[in-house]
């Protein structure tokens, strides 16, 4: 053993710009922070969500305004941007939903909290939410 071992990196008082880009977060950690980010995103966009609910259910006329917001845009906001925000919300909801089901499963089952189960279930959460977002996103942008 003559090869000098590389010292293990130490993280104290994590600096978001200096340390986070090089910090290797395991899959369950990614699910956890994305659960928070997706939740915060939906919290911030709550007025937009309720606006969509409002215009889509209030009347035939407002429903037409709702659909045209996605195709022709609304005010100074172009339609593609409305779709993009809706796509972001779609991902946020799917991730938050699936990660939430995983969370409740972990509350019920001790088995689910083990490293052997936690890693694959985290991968499924990350993958499934992205796949479903892509499937719904292709529909949103009129590919099929």
């Amino acid at each position: 053993m003559s090869v000098a071992q590389k010292p293990r990196p130490e993280f104290r008082n994590i600096n978001a710009f200096r340390d986070l880009p090089t910090y290797r977060l395991p899959a369950p950690g990614r699910v956890s922070i994305l659960h928070r980010i997706s939740g915060a995103l939906m919290f911030v966009l709550l007025p937009f969500i309720i606006w969509m609910f409002d215009t889509s259910v209030s009347s035939e006329l407002s429903f037409a305004r709702f659909t045209s917001a996605f195709s022709a845009g609304i005010g100074f906001v172009p339609g593609w941007f409305v779709k993009l925000v809706a796509l972001g919300l779609t991902w946020a909801y799917l991730h938050h939903f699936i990660a939430g089901v995983r969370h409740v499963w972990m509350d019920i089952s001790h088995d689910a909290v083990t490293l052997q189960r936690g890693r694959p279930s985290a991968m499924v959460t990350l993958g499934l939410s992205v796949v479903l977002t892509i499937v719904l996103g292709l529909k949103l942008f009129g590919v099929y």
């Binding site: 939740g39 919290f43 609910f53 259910v57 409740v104 509350d107």
Partner: protein, 121 residues
């Protein structure tokens, strides 16, 4: 009321943590059930989804009751979550209080708006 003094006093807090944890889980399950109920009605409706079929979902009284519970549950759920986030990342106590007040006002206002919309259908 639990004994809060003497040798038999509760020493492990006021169980706020358990209450928040449990209410967040219960509201989460409620919202998940709501999602499935709405999706099922969309999937089993015939033809393309227009105004009539979409607004019709929220027209029945039982759906209004369920949606109302979901709106209240969502505000409660988001409050517990945002409070957790603020407690973790915002350390200055004054700023944290201001942001917590903002979260409460934001959620109450949004819930009121959503409930108003619900009864327009």
């Amino acid at each position: 009321m639990a004994v809060n003094y003497g040798t038999r006093r509760t020493v492990v807090g006021a169980h706020y943590g358990l209450r928040d944890w449990l209410s967040q889980r219960i509201t989460a399950v409620l919202m998940a059930v709501f999602t499935v109920v709405v999706l099922a009605q969309l999937l089993f409706s015939s033809g393309p989804i227009g105004y009539e079929s979409w607004a019709g979902i929220f027209a029945s009284q039982w759906m209004k009751v369920l949606t109302f519970a979901v709106i209240v549950g969502l505000a409660w759920h988001a409050w517990v979550g945002m409070r957790d986030v603020l407690m973790d990342y915002i350390k200055p106590i004054g700023l944290r209080l201001v942001l917590q007040v903002f979260v409460i006002v934001w959620l109450t206002g949004c819930a009121g708006w959503a409930i108003q919309v619900l009864w327009k259908v």
